[in-house]
Symmetry: C2
Subunit: 209 residues, 2 copies
Amino acid sequence: MAADAAVQTSPETIGRRERKKVQTRTALLAAAAELFTAQGFDATTVDQIADAVDVSQRTFFRYFLTKEDVALEPVRAVEGRFLELLRLRPPTEPPLQALRRSSALTWQALREERLDEQHAVAVALLSANPGLAATDAHRSEAHRAAMVEALTHHRGTTRGLAELVVEVFSSAHRVAQRRWAESGSANLDDLAGELDSTLDLLPEVLETT
Amino acid sequence: MAADAAVQTSPETIGRRERKKVQTRTALLAAAAELFTAQGFDATTVDQIADAVDVSQRTFFRYFLTKEDVALEPVRAVEGRFLELLRLRPPTEPPLQALRRSSALTWQALREERLDEQHAVAVALLSANPGLAATDAHRSEAHRAAMVEALTHHRGTTRGLAELVVEVFSSAHRVAQRRWAESGSANLDDLAGELDSTLDLLPEVLETT
DNA sequence: TGCCATCTGGCACAGACTGACGCATGCGGA
DNA sequence: TCCGCATGCGTCAGTCTGTGCCAGATGGCA
């Protein structure tokens, strides 16, 4: 009976092997986050992270391609959530507004799942390590491409326009995120506020042509 | 008399030591560019570059902090030219237009000094190596800050607005540069055209709010 | 000519990352 | 229940980037 229940509930269907993998992966992520915030990204070696979880360095690199990836993984997760929400937006909605709304909803979801602190930590790590931010810019290219894909044909938007919209939105997002990190706030509402006021400045930008 | 002349003409004032330094630096830059375009950035080792100029690897790292820096140095040079021209713009000119005009003038200058090919090579290298582009984004932060500095108070522009203007312009610049690289053109006029048509799309971006 | 600052080469080493090999463990079928 | 296979993991050895250190070579200058 108990076994049957375990077999039927899909998430628990996975065997011991799979469970262990998830375990070590999670442990590596946690250990890395802790060490990075405690000692800084550069000062932390991969060996330290692996030792903290009691696996070999080689195993670490089987879970994460690079040391940067283990730091950026939370960011990637949030981007995934954001994309899901963006794809649910009605095609009648203007692209830039769809992006703005999806951001707000993403942060709301993070807060409801008590992931806001974790996200704040990741963002802080990013703005404290410019090199890491550069890698992030690279790694998020796929994400931007997916955003373009989701927005093309939104209310007759051409691909070329969608590309520019995404770039502009990403710029505003970066500016807002930087200001938020500098303010030292860990409240996602403040981040939303920064993004709003930044986006509201856009019309003035055009007047400078 | 001859000595006096040498002392007075500032560029030739430098002695043999300084001249040799410029020589090796130039040689390293040239060898790196050649190897990078021939074999790709990742496939080229620092040892290869150093060997090509017949200096030790250790010496290479005394001229360039990282392998990436030797690849990005031409880009930094162009940014310098751009900034000089931007600072000469009349303060009555709207910021975004000042940026646009400075770009055009920079490319014109590059062409006149027959540096357009070299620049095309650097841009091609950038768009062929996303990782390098990420580092470039990081390294160009100082450049963007300088642009903000130059534009603040331009026609009553606040710093906050200037920051956003620079971000938006940089976005358009990236988009245009990517399209130009994809088109395979080595003509700087085409790049200017791409930038113009991208910037002209900006009003439509705002309509998507 | 001789002294001093600077440049350079070579060495040793840390840290990120990779390929190969063998062992151990979990999984599925007979 | 037992066996064979797939998979994950550790170990080892090695590459490449980047750095500190010291000794020798070279240029500038009195």
